[in-house]
């Protein structure tokens, strides 16, 4: 996996007096979390494959402020937001794509009022558009006919009503998509949202990710797929907890597309 991939930064682009087609917002998980970094790399591979002219902010990128906002720290959120907006506006960013539904929601819905107006898309939407434009080819390959269940990330689904783009991609992979009992707008949270990712949960009789994983495993999938690095971690932990990690993989849709064709 140590093939060096080419990831240009906005600073380089501006130095060359060029403007990329889209800014890839990597996000904190995508930059630092070992599992999520693999998702970022998979998505970058697909961008290269489709010859998308993209750039990242690199070391200039900072947390969108989402985790702060969800716990009520409006000050910290707005400071992060304004710093990011100042930077992105200076770079004259028009379009942003991200593999994190939390970054996606914040950039898309909460930045405009503070002066940050961009076309923001989730990576599953972006991949879907590449597909529609014929820039990316997705074929069944490895996953053809396999039992796959898709977990809807709250901040993509209920928060922004995006249920179809990820499912369309799975359809292209020709998987046997098996829905959990609780899906789409009734999907159960993985337990990470609202900054629960960063704290112990309150006293109860079960962890949320365990409950969600049980719902997924009920359907006997070969793979649990999702479109959020946090959901990914929570579901993978859940599968490990059930000692099923050798049987059931948890993957991002971008990773599935890459793996399907050995890119």
């Amino acid at each position: 996996m140590s093939r060096v991939i080419k990831v240009p930064t906005m600073a380089q682009y501006i130095a060359d007096k060029k403007q990329p087609e889209v800014l890839l917002w990597v996000g904190c998980a995508g930059s630092f979390d070992d599992r999520a970094k693999k998702i970022t790399k998979a998505f970058v591979k697909l961008l290269h494959n489709a010859r998308v002219d993209f750039a990242v902010l690199g070391t200039e990128e900072g947390c969108t402020g989402d985790p702060a906002k969800r716990v009520g720290n409006e000050f910290l959120f707005q400071m992060q937001a304004m710093a990011n907006i100042e930077l992105m506006n200076a770079y004259d960013i028009k379009k942003v794509v991200t593999a994190c539904p939390h970054c996606f929601n914040t950039l898309k819905n909460e930045y405009p009022q503070l002066g940050g107006n961009y076309e923001v898309v989730h990576h599953t939407q972006f991949l879907k558009s590449l597909l529609d434009d014929g820039r990316l080819k997705v074929e069944g390959g490895k996953f053809k006919g396999k039992r796959i269940t898709y977990h809807d990330p709250c901040y993509l689904g209920r928060a922004n009503n995006i249920y179809e783009a990820p499912r369309e991609l799975l359809k292209k992979l020709e998987v046997a998509l098996i829905e959990m009992k609780k899906n789409k707008r009734n999907g159960l949270c993985c337990g990470a949202g609202g900054s629960q990712m960063f704290k112990e949960s309150e006293k109860g009789d079960k962890d949320i990710n365990i409950l969600r994983t049980e719902q997924a495993l009920e359907r006997k999938p070969a793979i649990i797929t999702t479109g959020c690095p946090f959901c990914n971690t929570m579901m993978a932990d859940g599968v490990k907890n059930e000692e099923k990690e050798t049987l059931v993989k948890v993957m991002d849709i971008a990773e599935m597309i890459v793996n399907a064709q050995d890119l």
Binding site: V4, V7, V26, C28, G30, S31, F32, K37, K41, V56, T59, E61, G62, C63, P67, A68, K69, R70, V71, G72, N73, E74, F75, L76, Q78, M79, Q80, M82, N105, N109, E110, Q113, L114, C154, R158, A159, N160, R185, N186, L188, C189, G191, A192, G193, G194, S195, Q196, M197, F198, K199, E200, S201, E202, K203, G204, D205, D207, I208, I210, L211
Partner: protein, 443 residues
């Protein structure tokens, strides 16, 4: 002497409607204790939402059994009100079945009211069984003991009594029509009461039948007025408030939280290199009250959130979808709404008792009603918002209260404080150096 019933009726009607109006005015005053929020944009969309969600019950039927039963009771409620109109005119003018000259139309009307009344009775029985025998989990949560539990059943009993009175009145009336008693014009069709109630009263004398008919008639209208006045004290206000509540609901995506404008001002000032922190305040600007960040009491919430609290009918669909509640945590979105209403009522009573001014009672919504444990258990997943059949937004209240805890009291759990200081210091919720942000490319 012959006008005594008319006068009694007028007094009953005026009394019933006045007390109701008095309480509704109190309710509006209480809702207006909330902060201002502008929800008058996109009127077309708002009307459409109201028509679809409140009038059309589209979110109710997402749960088919409860949704179907509810639609029966809802349609029964709407249509049987036409009958109330006739009762009021009869009562005031001393007429009997004033709409009878409508002939066939009248027969169809009364006939369909009877069928609806029967369907409502069946639906109510199903509701009662769901609440008390099948013991559906959402009706058994911790907050559903005591008054909320009996309130739920009271409503059902009320409706049974009203429907039975209506059918008894019709049965006695029909029998009197057949006996050709004076004043009892031949009108109406009685497809239900004729077999359900009539056999019970068939052998009674004309005099007794008149007493039964009159008593059922009076008790029916009195019952309706009592029910109307019960609304304010019960969870049942949704039959009125569902309409404004769906109209004024948030239209932005569920995931979009409000950006606090007071914070924006301060942050802009902080980030402006030309701002002089020691500058005297601009004397021309109006002296603003120092904004309080977030909410610790009902007055810190906006009026839509307060209306939400009065609209909640405690069905518990929110709580039954809440991931925290499903895994045994204390948080229940329904309780958030019930607490908000209880506290708002308490504040309202305080204002009534103190000649229109709120006197500090040493209590507040935060702590005395809603605990921090509940607030911190929320994953902000929007399941409660999505589940509510009348567009109530418990999440927005949770978020406002978290804002108060974090920005006014710095009272977040330690791990969250660590997360926030990481964001502040190195731009990520974890303690990684910002300069390492692109290292993944080389790994």
């Amino acid at each position: 002497m012959q006008y005594i019933p008319n006068i009694l009726f007028l007094l009953l009607l005026v009394g019933g409607v006045s007390y109701f109006t008095l309480n509704i005015r109190k309710l509006i005053r209480n809702i207006n204790l909330g902060l201002d929020v502008n929800r008058t944009d996109q009127k077309n969309v708002r009307f459409k939402n109201m028509a679809k969600i409140a009038l059309g019950q589209t979110k109710m039927v997402r749960r088919p059994i409860a949704g179907f039963l509810h639609i029966i009771v809802y349609i029964g409620f709407l249509i049987i009100n036409v009958e109330v109109l006739e009762i009021i005119i009869d009562g005031l003018l001393g007429t009997h079945r004033v709409f009878a000259p409508l002939g066939k139309v009248y027969d169809v009307l009364i006939g369909s009211f009877e069928i609806l009344a029967l369907l409502v009775l069946i639906a109510i029985m199903a509701f009662w069984i769901r609440r008390n025998i099948i013991k559906i989990k959402r009706f058994l949560s911790a907050e559903m003991t005591g008054w909320p539990k009996s309130d739920g059943n009271n409503i059902l009993y009320f409706e049974v009594v009203l429907m039975l009175l209506f059918l008894t009145m019709n049965a006695a009336d029909y029998k009197l029509q057949l006996l050709e008693a004076t004043h009892y014009v031949k009108a109406g069709a009685f497809p239900v009461s004729s077999w359900m109630i009539m056999p019970l009263i068939d052998s009674l004398s004309e005099g007794t039948l008149i007493i039964i008919e009159r008593s059922a008639w009076w008790l029916h209208i009195a019952g309706i007025l009592v029910f109307l006045n019960y609304l304010y004290f019960s969870k049942h206000l949704h039959i009125l408030l569902a309409f404004p509540n769906t109209y004024f609901a948030k239209l932005t995506p569920n995931g979009q939280f409000t950006n606090s404008e007071a914070v924006t001002k301060e942050v802009k000032l902080m980030m402006d290199p030309d701002a002089d922190p020691f500058a005297a305040p601009d004397p021309t600007s109006e002296t603003e009250e120092v904004a309080k960040f977030g909410a610790s009491d009902v007055m810190d919430l906006n009026w839509v959130q307060l209306m939400n609290a009065y609209t909640c009918t405690e069905c518990g669909r929110c709580t039954s979808e809440c991931p925290a509640n499903l895994t045994g945590k204390k948080l229940s979105p329904r309780k958030i709404m019930m607490d908000t209403r209880d506290r708002l009522e308490e504040v309202g009573k305080n204002i009534d008792a103190n000649k229109g001014e709120f006197k500090d009672d040493g209590k507040q919504l935060l702590g005395d009603y809603i605990t921090t444990e509940e607030l911190w258990a929320c994953t902000t997943c929007n399941a409660c918002v999505e589940a509510c059949p009348v567009s109530i937004d418990p999440l927005s209240i949770i978020n406002e209260m978290r804002r108060y805890l974090v920005m006014e009291q710095s009272a977040a759990p330690t791990e969250l404080n660590n997360m926030m200081s990481n964001i502040e210091n190195n731009g990520a919720p974890w303690p990684y150096n910002q300069m390492d942000r692109l290292n993944w490319v080389k790994e």
